[in-house]
């Protein structure tokens, strides 16, 4: 009987074996080889699926211990077979070992180290960040789970506005400014795929202090990543030569010298954000824009105190020389573009004729 059944089902066994190895293959893409397959989830959830499950920490804080099986199912790790014990390595069975954490924060700051096991490169990168630097003195400095979540981890940029609102958890004042800016409003109101979110300028895991001279000196290039991209700018009817024209300007030349020679020395020459604002950048025709004609003098006066209304006429505003916009510059350029070749060619030709005449005269005299 058994013999017959086995014989009959041989193709099924083969199919099952193929299927299993196929699964194993797919599985091994996601789970590192040294990670044994986790089968802890069902076991753990048998208690932790209780919404009322919680404990009180020595600090008096209540630590909820409920895990939603549905949400866990939709998160990124669980469906890949990365289950509870992958992170909760010290909890192997019930009863659990004695809890040693006094506060919820202490717990978070300890457990996030589990991320390092798989995401070591990103962890290392984050160690370089401003957040990691201040973590020694500031327990609220974010760790992985503060931004990504702990049990219910999802794709962080879906939707894209999610990134900026994640940062807003702590940086709420900056977020309020950003929301009103041209970049922020396009992101939040229109889900624009091109405008920068926080991480586009500040970096993702290795977020550096933006108040340093290094960050300042890199600012024009940071903005140029988008604003010198002709294709991208054309999409919004913006000129893509602003960066090139800036580099020719008084400020821009100064900044480029500091960048190439003294990147660690603080400089005061204006970079993009000094005039346009940082998180509150608006369209130039927006009356609230720092570089709108109504506010331009005030903006200039930040560095050039005591200047008069005429002063703003000195600013060529990232425009090519033109009769309409910069008549003085236009006429000076027009003058020199004809005067220079006239004078220099005139002088050169006249002197050349003198030399030739002198040589010919001398040759004639010697042949006489």
């Amino acid at each position: 009987m058994i013999k017959i059944r086995l014989r009959l089902s041989r193709p099924i066994w083969v199919a099952a074996a193929l299927l299993a190895s196929g699964f194993a293959l797919v599985y091994s893409w996601h789970v590192r080889a040294d990670q044994p397959a986790q089968e802890t989830e069902t076991y753990c959830l048998s208690c932790h699926n209780n919404p009322d499950l919680k404990t009180t920490l020595p600090s008096g804080e209540v630590l909820p211990l409920y895990i939603s099986p549905e949400e866990l199912e939709q998160s990124i790790h669980s469906p890949l077979g990365i289950e509870c014990q992958a992170c909760h390595t010290e909890i192997k069975t019930y009863p659990h070992p004695q809890n040693t954490y006094t506060t919820r924060r202490e717990l978070s700051r300890s457990y996030y180290l589990s991320c390092k096991k798989c995401h070591s490169a990103i962890y290392e990168k984050a160690q370089d960040s401003m957040h990691a630097q201040v973590a020694a003195d500031n327990p609220d400095a974010p760790v992985c789970t503060d931004c990504h979540g702990s049990h219910y981890v999802h794709d962080p940029n879906e939707p894209r506005a999610q990134i900026s609102s994640t940062c807003a958890t702590c940086h709420d004042q900056v977020y309020e400014q950003y929301k009103g800016s041209i970049h922020g409003s396009a992101l939040i109101d229109e889900d624009n795929p091109d405008v920068p979110v926080c991480t586009d300028c500040h970096g993702v895991h290795n977020i550096h202090d933006p108040r340093t001279e290094q960050f300042r000196i890199e600012t024009p290039e940071l903005c140029a990543n988008c604003h010198a991209d002709a294709e991208l700018m054309a999409k919004y009817g913006l000129p893509a030569n602003v960066y090139d024209l800036y580099k020719l300007s008084w400020h821009g030349v100064d900044v480029s010298v500091y960048k190439s020679r003294w990147p660690t020395i603080w400089h005061d020459s204006a970079v993009c954000t000094d005039c346009h604002g940082v998180h509150d950048i608006r369209k130039t025709d927006d009356p609230q824009s720092h570089v709108n004609a109504t506010n331009l003098l005030t903006t200039c006066q930040k560095c050039h105190p005591g200047t008069s209304q005429n002063w703003i006429g000195a600013w060529t505003g990232h425009h090519e020389i033109s009769l309409e916009r910069t008549p003085w510059l236009f006429y000076v350029e027009a003058f020199y573009s004809s005067f220079t070749p006239f004078v220099l060619w005139g002088a050169a030709i006249y002197v050349l004729l003198q030399i030739l005449r002198a040589i010919i005269d001398r040759a004639r005299r010697s042949l006489r």
Partner: protein, 244 residues
């Protein structure tokens, strides 16, 4: 150049009385020194500022302090040049008031005719070299080119030195225009002096009269025949290069 050959032909034992004419006064010679030195210092300290993006400039302007130093030197030289210009103009106005301003540096129609004839001579369209007075048209071109050039440099330079004050009086648009004019005029003037002035006073013949104040009879006859005639009452025209 022919007169050089003739000079060499004179036996060394022969006694030869050479008449020497006064060409420039002591104060004019001093003015030239001040002009020359300030011009060179301004050019040397100005060029690295104009070409800040280049590596040679960055060798000179190696630190922010060095930039400040070079700018300070540039401005000191500029003040020296301003004082020279004030002296020059002051003297001219004083002499004008006394009706003793020599008019031989002013451009006349004769200079245009001279220039035309000189070009015709250089192109072999004319046998004789035109004869000139104390200042020939080449020298007048040098003087007036530098005169106007310094005017442009001083005005634009002062605008760049005190832009915030200037913008209280003048439209702001003059500031970037002054920057362009200052930096372009400097190059034009620099190249012009090298081509034009250096050729005429160093290569055509070494003419050191602006330093010595004197000019010898031969040069006087060859290059300033009319002035020679005026001073000596002698109308022998020995414009050397013209004889062929």
């Amino acid at each position: 150049m022919s007169e050089q050959t003739e000079d060499n032909a004179v036996p060394s034992t022969a006694i030869r009385l050479e008449k020497v004419f006064e060409r420039f006064t002591v104060s004019q010679r001093w003015e030239h020194w001040v002009l020359l030195l300030s011009f060179v210092v301004l050019l040397l300290t100005g060029l690295p500022q104009k070409y800040r993006a280049t590596s040679w400039s960055q060798q000179i302007l190696a630190t922010p302090d060095q930039v400040a130093l070079v700018q300070t030197i540039h401005r000191i030289a500029a003040v020296v040049l301003i004082l020279e210009v004030l002296y020059h103009l002051g003297k001219a106005i004083y002499r004008m008031a006394k009706r003793r301003l020599p008019d031989n540096i002013f451009v006349t129609w004769q200079d245009f005719r001279d220039a035309g004839q000189m070009v015709a001579y250089l192109l072999f369209l004319r046998k004789e070299k035109p004869v000139f007075g104390k200042y020939n048209f080449e020298e007048k071109v040098t003087y007036w080119f530098i005169f106007v050039g310094i005017g442009i440099m001083l005005v634009s330079g002062l605008i760049l030195w005190f832009p915030e004050i200037i913008a209280r009086v003048l439209p702001g648009g003059v500031i970037p225009a002054a920057k362009l004019a200052h930096s372009t005029e400097a190059i034009v003037a620099g190249i012009f002096v090298v081509i034009w002035h250096f050729y005429h006073v160093h290569f055509q013949r070494l003419n050191l009269s602006i330093f010595s104040g004197k000019i010898n009879e031969k040069d006087m006859q060859s290059y300033h025949a009319l002035e020679y005639e005026r001073l000596t009452g002698d109308n022998t025209d020995e414009s050397g290069g013209g004889q062929s």
